[in-house]
Amino acid sequence: MKHVLVWLSVLYLLTGCGFKDIDKRYLVMAIGVDKSEIKEKPYHVSLKLAIPTSQIQPGQSNTFHLISDDASTMTEAVRHLKSKVDKELDFSQTKMIVFGKKLGEERLDKVTIDWFLRRPEIQGIAFMALGYPSAEQVLNVRPKSERLPADSLIMSFDQEGTESSYIVTEFLFDFHRRLSEKGLDPYLPIIRPLKDTYLIDQVAIFDKEKIKAILNPEETRIFNELSKKIRNFDIETKTDKAQFALNVSSFGYSYDFDERNDSAPKLTMNVRIRGISEESKQSFYHSQWNRYKEEAETETAKRYLHVLRKLQSLKVDPIGFGLRYRATHYHGDKDWEKWKDIYPRLDWNIKVNIDLIGSGGVK
């Protein structure tokens, strides 16, 4: 008995202050950061707080509480926001970090995301995105089918629910890595709120500091294919000779650098696609398969070339050609200097090889 008392008193001395019941915590589901109008307080921080329910029902249980505040730093904003709520803010379930587009256009770099990296409870695997017109407006949307606050955004990004080829996924840790990696530039998907839902079909390409360009949906899809090697997309071919769509079942590409001619360095890319035709104006006869294939190949190569040229002209490299160059050349820092010289005048040689494995259910 004496022992037990002694140990209990020792334990009592050791009590931490971490004890806080889950119902005394306000779970922050998403954080939005915008550029504010006030000059001394550049950050407009909004938090999407989940109101707990005991029964999850689609469209009913996604009630949330949106609070926002202007401040000069993230810390200050959060500290001040705490005084607006009755419970402790808990960032451990924060899976969505949205930055306003304006902020991205001005400056979005290590300093901006510093707070997120330093807070230990914020997940490295939180999704990042840009909100247009503002992050707060994105957070304020309440989709009809949603089960939890911000759930539909998270579902869209982690490819668990919808698997759209327009949705580009970016994690916090990956964004941080791209901010400092030589030869790999950051990007963020753009979320646009519609009335009761979101539209995520664009991507913003960053240099190491701010947005350089925003790709349109078609380019976004190509970018997604190239950077993430996603598989669930389709290829549309629309020429005067043929018009059909392919559903891709496997996709892969490889490339190498050709520097034999020093003045005109070349990048040769081999793209391999296997697919089934999904929609076609003509019927697919055996004899014509090859012709259609070639049509599709040239079409696709053209599209890839367009996106790659665009990125090249913007002097950004979110796909990581520079990193691959560093990886395949063994001169340490010199490689990087050389790549910076090569990249603007790189010539692209893209070969697409489409393997048509079927015509779908009908001829």
Binding site: P120, I125, F173, D174, R177, L184, K228, A327
Partner: protein, 365 residues
């Protein structure tokens, strides 16, 4: 029995490679860290080979007995005290390091001394058990936790965001002569064999330890994993921004379909257990070394003997650990650890060579 040798060697590799090596080697990743990771296990492996062969010649004897038999007291007692404290300090550093991690990630808003006191008590409780108990529990807990750990490391390797281009870009910096610091850190990862100085008492029926070549290979693999996986996930330059490199790495890995989605928590909990184990073995070795100085003290091999001297050692070092841990800051911790490893390597070499000499000398007798 000889399988137990691999348990404590693996244990020390896992601890050092994941807790200290990344932080210290990452600073020197462009200045020869990679070569040091190749040289470290080789050097460590050679010393391990010499040490184990010489120790096994003294069947069932610990280092205190060996030194007492063959050296005068004026040499053996200071040597034992030094070795004991060395062992204690290496355990204490792990405890301090881990209580930093725990007070940040697992029990946030808690001053560091609270987890530290808890850790010290647990480590002392473990260290006061008999040598056999320490060995058995090492086996049990490693076997329980290693599969999960291996799985999360496997997950990290096969992660979509693991970028092997970054790893390949790092390989450019292989052929650079490493500094003494990074070399000693890499060697330190393989120093678990020193514990054999005490555990040899339990190795009564062991003629030779088989598959000793596996130790440097294992060390090499663990070091490479500990070094390259963070680089592949956090970036060649981005990796430099994190303090607890592996915690950040584990935080970047997710298991979509696991019960706990965030690998970092699985990782932290497994490592809590492994840190306890490491502290327990090192403190057991340390307390046995120091209490071995006392005349007429019996080796604590199986039954419960008088553990009072051991308890006093643990208490003294435990209190010291709490005070030092409270006083150290996070940045100090890594400076102190790297200095510690730089001193530690020569001490290890001295131990190994002296035991080697003693075994040669004994043969000629």
């Amino acid at each position: 029995m000889s399988r137990y040798f691999f348990y404590f060697v693996t244990l020390s590799m896992l601890i050092n490679a994941i807790l200290f090596v990344p932080r210290i080697l990452m600073d020197e990743r462009y200045d020869g860290a990679i070569l040091s990771m190749i040289l470290g296990p080789i050097i460590g492996g050679i010393f391990m080979y010499i040490f184990t062969s010489s120790m096994l010649k003294f069947r069932g004897q610990g280092l205190p007995e060996i030194l007492k038999q063959s050296l005068p007291k004026t040499i053996s007692i200071p040597l034992l005290l030094l070795l004991g404290s060395v062992s204690f300090i290496s355990g204490a550093l792990v405890l301090i390091n881990y209580s930093f991690i725990v007070s940040r990630y697992l029990i946030p808003k808690t001053p560091i001394y609270i987890p530290l006191i808890l850790f010290v008590m647990v480590a002392s409780f473990g260290a006061l058990q008999s040598t056999k108990t320490v060995l058995y529990s090492t086996e049990l807990i490693l076997v329980l936790s290693l599969p999960l750990l291996l799985f999360s490391i496997f997950k990290a390797y096969t992660n979509q965001n693991m970028n092997f281009d970054e790893v390949r870009a790092m390989i450019d910096y292989t052929w650079i002569l490493p500094s003494w610091k990074s070399l000693s850190v890499s060697t330190y990862a393989v120093t678990g064999y020193i514990s054999l100085a005490i555990f040899n008492r339990a190795f009564t029926g062991v003629q030779t330890i088989q598959h000793r070549w596996a130790v440097p290979c294992l060390g090499f693999c663990i070091l490479l994993t500990a070094f390259f996986v963070p680089i592949g996930i956090l970036g060649t330059d981005g990796v430099n921004d994190y303090i607890f490199t592996w915690v950040a790495t584990a935080d970047a890995v997710r298991m979509k379909y696991a019960f706990i989605e965030r690998v970092v928590y699985i990782f932290l909990l497994i490592y809590l257990g492994i840190s306890y184990l490491f502290a327990m073995t090192t403190w057991h070795v340390g307390s046995e070394m120091i209490s071995g100085c006392l005349p007429g003290h019996h080796a604590n091999t199986s039954a419960v003997n008088s553990v009072l001297p051991n308890a006093i050692c643990c208490a003294v070092f435990g209190i010291g650990t709490v005070i030092v841990g409270n006083w150290l800051g996070e940045d100090d911790l890594f400076t102190v650890s790297s200095y510690w490893m730089m001193i530690r390597s020569p001490i290890d070499i001295v131990i190994v060579l002296s035991v080697f000499m003693l075994s040669k000398w004994r043969k000629t007798l």
